[in-house]
């Protein structure tokens, strides 16, 4: 039961060009709430500030102003409070080819977070947990997969390892930054379906960052449309896609491949 709340978040970056400096407002006055077992999609094109929000939520960047509240309490800046926050908020990255270390086995990738967060666990228990995690992301036979290295797996399988790794510390919130955009179209829905199932089982809040409107619509409860650092439209998923009100949402919806539209033209 975790609620992550963001209140009027602002992030400025200072840009330097020789002796002159200017500020770029990457995130401008963004507020939203991520409740347990709900999915919020953050859509927008490259450079709209989606990933900056992910970095802010993960405490990889500090906001210029505004606050991030976990269960109503502001995030600790150091010590055990921060460690606890990091355990609760986990991340799945975009590129499963870059986010797994080619030198280590799949088992090693899953052991690390378990050991970090449960330092007193015995080796046998850790191993059992690793296998259990692999089973949960449907990578079977788990015993065999645990010994493999990332290059022996396909993109979809690697991304499932990344999901298992994010689930290892038993988080309450999962931030998924374009989790399927690097994968083949044919397995994207499978991975999203798995993510939705795990979300239900674990009662997770999920922030789904993407530029693919079609999956955002079917995968999430609420959609936030970002443009140049601001949220220009928000609402229940179907409303935003089927009746877009803001100009930019319409542009995005038009840009998405939609075979029905073209084939309608061909038939005529």
């Amino acid at each position: 039961m975790t609620t992550l709340e963001v209140r009027s978040l602002v992030k400025d970056y200072r840009l330097r060009d020789g002796l002159r400096t200017s500020t770029l407002r990457a995130v401008n006055d963004v507020s939203f709430t991520l409740d347990h077992s709900r999915t919020v999609a953050l859509v927008g094109q490259s450079g709209s500030g989606k990933s900056t929000i992910a970095k802010l939520l993960l405490q990889l960047e500090h906001p210029t102003s505004g606050e991030i509240l976990l269960d109503g309490k502001p995030v600790a800046r150091r010590g055990s409070g921060l460690a606890e926050y990091r355990r609760t908020v986990q991340m799945v990255f975009q590129d499963p080819f870059a986010s797994l270390n080619p030198f280590h086995t799949v088992g090693h990738h899953l052991e690390r977070p378990i050991r970090l967060h449960h330092p007193r666990m015995t080796n046998a228990e850790v191993h059992r947990r690793v296998l259990h995690l692999l089973d949960r992301v449907r990578l079977s036979p788990a015993e065999n997969v645990a010994q493999r290295r990332p290059h022996e797996l396909s993109g979809g399988q690697r991304q499932r390892v990344a999901i298992a790794r994010a689930l290892a510390p038993e988080p309450g919130v999962l931030i998924a930054d374009e989790p399927v955009s690097m994968l083949d179209v044919s397995i994207r829905l499978g991975v999203l379906n798995l993510l939705a199932t795990l979300q239900r089982e674990e009662d997770l809040g999920v922030l789904y960052i993407t530029h693919d409107l079609a999956t955002a619509r079917h995968f999430s409860d609420e959609i936030l449309v970002m443009y140049k650092g601001e949220i220009v439209e928000r609402g229940p998923a179907d409303d935003v896609i089927l009746n877009p009100r803001h100009e930019y949402t319409k542009t995005l919806a038009d840009a998405a491949p939609n075979p029905e539209r073209r084939l309608g033209e061909l038939r005529r």
């Binding site: 179209v185 829905l189 499978g190 409107l213 995968f219 995005l252 491949p257 075979p259 029905e260 084939l263």
Partner: protein, 294 residues
């Protein structure tokens, strides 16, 4: 429009590694003048290998075991790419068939300005061209894809991803080839930029009348831009048909699977994503156990 510009017959490519990988198996198709042919399939199905094989760009251990790719020129003569000497092959590439490579954003040389990379094409293929004329032409090409000609002096890192992609497309058009092969030209771009580039490609195709082989794993995108679509799996073309038929009446089981695997933006298809866990969705991506195990 109905005359073929490229005929590929019984084309097979093997990778001579242990064990031998049959990457492309006995593929035949015809490309008509001015058409956009989509080549769809998952990673590892052989679609890029086929494209590279057609223009003989494959390096060992890849080997073309059987088949021809015959180019039918607009002027009425035929060229079998397999019979060309290395010298002729070099002259024919880019002039007759050009290519926009996968990850085109990173295939520009980072230490040479865009102008020099453009001029390199003309210096190699049109050595008789005057310097002034060459300059003029490079600028025109850039403007044709919607990039300001002042950008000729820029280095690749000074351009955005979408712009670099346009520069690559402009370069591929430089010699007015009759066929352009595009290998995943928009995968690294976001939807809005992707849409602009696709519009650009369609517009230029209408203007200049070249044929396009468009390779991608993104079937919804192909359905939108191509006239005909070939679906590849395990090195074979399992279905080839025009876009409308393929979408409304897919014949092969695998095509049906692919069509079912993307959600629809405005329709209901895809709402099952949040339904019960469906292990069939991941069946295509199951871990294989067996001989490859080390």
């Amino acid at each position: 429009m109905s005359h073929p510009v490229l005929t590929v017959e019984n084309f097979s490519v093997d990778y001579l590694v242990d064990p031998v990988v049959h990457a492309v198996k006995d593929v035949s198709f015809e490309l008509k003048r001015g058409e956009v042919l989509g080549l769809a399939g998952e990673s590892g199905c052989g679609k890029s290998t086929l494209a590279y094989g057609i223009v003989r760009l494959l390096k060992p251990p890849a080997m073309i075991t059987t088949g021809h790719a015959v180019f039918h020129s607009r002027e009425g003569y035929d060229i079998d790419w397999g019979d060309l000497s290395p010298e002729d092959l070099r002259a024919a590439r880019w002039d007759k068939i050009s290519m926009v490579f996968q990850g085109a954003m990173n295939s520009l040389n980072p230490v040479i300005s865009v102008r020099d990379q453009f001029e390199d094409i003309f210096e190699t293929h049109r050595p008789e061209m005057k310097k002034k004329e060459r300059r003029e032409r490079c600028g025109d090409l850039l403007e044709r894809v919607g990039v300001d000609r002042a950008r000729l002096n820029a280095y690749p890192h000074e351009l955005s991803g979408g712009m670099r992609q346009r520069v690559m497309i402009a370069m591929a058009m430089a010699l007015e080839p009759q066929i352009m092969i595009m290998d995943e030209p928009t995968t690294a771009l976001d939807v809005v930029v992707q849409r602009e580039i696709l519009r650009e490609i369609t517009r230029l195709r209408d203007e200049l009348g070249f044929a396009v082989i468009f390779i991608t794993h993104d079937l919804p995108l192909l359905l939108e831009i191509s006239d005909r679509i070939a679906v590849m799996r395990h090195g074979e073309i399992v279905e080839l048909g025009n876009a409308l038929d393929l979408y409304t009446n897919p014949r092969h089981e695998y095509t049906r699977q692919l069509l079912a695997s993307f959600p629809s933006l405005t329709g209901d298809r895809g709402s099952f994503v949040r339904g019960a866990m469906d292990d069939r969705l991941l069946a295509l991506d199951a871990v294989s156990v067996g001989e490859e195990q080390s």
